[in-house]
Amino acid sequence: MYSVELKQVDKSYDKEQLVVKDVSVKIEPGEFFVLVGPSGCGKSTLLRMIAGLEEITSGSILIDGKKADHLPPSKRELSMVFQNYALYPHMNVEDNITFGLDVKKMRKKEKKEKCCEIADMLGLTDYLKRKPRHLSGGQRQRVALARAIITNSPICLMDEPLSNLDAKLRAHMRSEIRELQRKLGLTLIYVTHDQVEAMTMGDRIMVLNEGVIQQVGKPIDVYNAPANPFVAKFIGSPPMNVTTGLVDKNSSQVTISEQISFSVDRFTVKDLNSEEVIVGIRPENIRIYEESSNQNLSFEVTIDHVEILGTETLLKFKWNDSVWYAKWYGQWDIRVGQSLTLSLDPDSFCIYDGCTESLMQGPRNIQHQHVREGIV
């Protein structure tokens, strides 16, 4: 179990534009660390720099505490799983798996044994003699995993390993990879742009945008209290609804769309740099207006689109010049075009500084969201 540490790492391909900017983070030994961000934000670049496939422009990388900037990939004691699996199409599964061992001049028998062991673990025993093209997507994925695992490298890097699989298989492989990582105690750095994977797999996730770290933390924390509107919108599906509000510093009141207003913490307001704040609320915190709820936080909308996904219903509507979503548990029979009065939960707001975009106040009702501990 090795740690990986990045220190002020920069990367530029064309010596002009920085693709990765000043990234510093320490990945603990045995951690499942997820790197997430939109396409082109530099995730792969970062991973490839750790692997040594790409030079770093400045900064340095420490593996197991030792400087590794100029080590060739093979000396970094890591393995890697590629998005398209990078299986050698002309070799059968067994040869593919033992490919990395060839270098190590292991005895043939030993190699075979090891291969069988791993194949067994991943349920590949029956396919050892097949060529990759005769395997299904999930099986290929497993071969790629096996190939990474067999080298016994303490660090494993994965670059969107599941993005070529269909939804069902993806769900299955998610848990498989997670279990494997636990069992082997790997330090795993996992790149994805799928936020379901980010949410469910990692011990910690790091959200990246345009090469800059946005937030590092436990998935649930990132979900509940996104550090800035970008993270708020990126994590969660449908994304958090975000709008601007005006703040009255005297009364500590925030007004949205001249219609809705609520009060915020006094101290929070003091730190504000501008009159404007960005207010975010997750779709599940938008409710049907009931008599009992706060009059100030309700508004009427026309539903543009309804999607019933079995146990939950998704509503789409326009409000305050942007598209909003609401997500309710259960199957709701709502027609497109129908008018509804909705209300917001004041305790669920995330409030960001309109200028610096940093989080001023997170939601207070996280307790409400059924986090129950120790039920037996």
Partner: protein
């Protein structure tokens, strides 16, 4: 309408096939004709006797020539594959400076007419004392720009992750070349191989220049030897020679047609 289209297609296919293949069939028929039949301008011989073939083989050590051709073509084929593959590998997988420039130089060699370099080459061969050697028939043809180009195009289609995966595993670059690149690009190797084999098999002027005796001569020279200048040519025998010469390559071509087509197309597309 549904029947019409295949019918037209078949008619066109058959018609064009007859036209394209006619010269070969014609040569085939003539190879069985006696001189008198030839003068009568017949198309199909009265009897298919093998006299002409017998004469062709009697007159020249054709079997030996065939073997030489086969040997030389095979060696050139292998040499071309190796040399071109090495060069193509460098162009694709090693990011050295000036790569594009060197590649351009390579490609430009395709434009040098072979005849333009033949005289100095002949002198070189002579100085190397390679006259009458298999070396002189093979080694000058090992490096061909077309081969490098074709293989490079195919190597480019190899996912770069394969290279990276082997980098991480710590594989030597030559081993990667040997264990991954070559098997991965089998089609284009077959294509280039067939191409090299055929072109070498078909060479005439150069083998004649650099060989002096039957020992290492190729079958195309044999074909020339069957023709005469001042004395009357025995066309039947010549055509028998033609058939003998083209049959091995035709067989090879028929066998490898599919691969060849795939591979050549790959090289053609940038």
């Amino acid at each position: 309408m549904k029947i019409l289209r295949p019918t037209i297609t078949y008619m066109l296919l058959i018609l064009t096939a007859v036209i394209v293949f006619f010269p070969v069939v014609y040569a085939f028929f003539i190879s069985f004709m006696s001189g008198a039949e030839l003068l009568q301008g017949k198309f199909i011989p009265e009897t298919f006797h093998l006299d002409n073939y017998q004469k062709a083989f009697e007159r020249l050590p054709l079997a030996h020539y065939l073997w030489n051709s086969f040997f030389v073509s095979t060696v050139v084929m292998l040499g071309q594959l190796l040399v071109s593959a090495l060069a193509a590998y460098a162009f694709v997988f090693i990011p050295f400076k000036g790569r594009n420039f060197v590649f351009f130089i390579f490609i430009s060699t395709m434009m040098i007419p072979w005849e333009a370099t033949m005289i100095p080459n002949f002198l070189t061969i002579q100085q190397l004392d390679w006259i009458n050697n298999y070396q002189s028939l093979t080694i000058p043809f090992f490096a061909i720009a077309f081969g490098t180009f074709l293989l490079r195009q195919h190597f480019l289609t190899l996912p770069k992750e394969l290279k990276e995966a082997s980098d991480i595993a710590g594989l030597r670059s030559f081993k990667f070349f040997w264990k991954v690149v070559i098997p991965y690009c089998r089609t284009s190797f077959i294509t280039l191989g067939a191409y090299g084999f055929l072109t070498t098999w078909n060479m005439y002027l150069w083998p004649l220049l650099v060989t002096n005796n039957d020992q290492v001569r190729t079958v195309q020279i044999g074909l020339k030897q069957l023709q005469t200048q001042e004395m009357a040519t025995d066309w039947g025998v010549v055509m028998a020679g033609v058939i003998i010469v083209i049959i091995p390559t035709l067989i090879l071509l028929f066998l490898g047609q599919k691969q060849l087509q795939k591979g050549l197309a790959q090289g053609a597309l940038k």
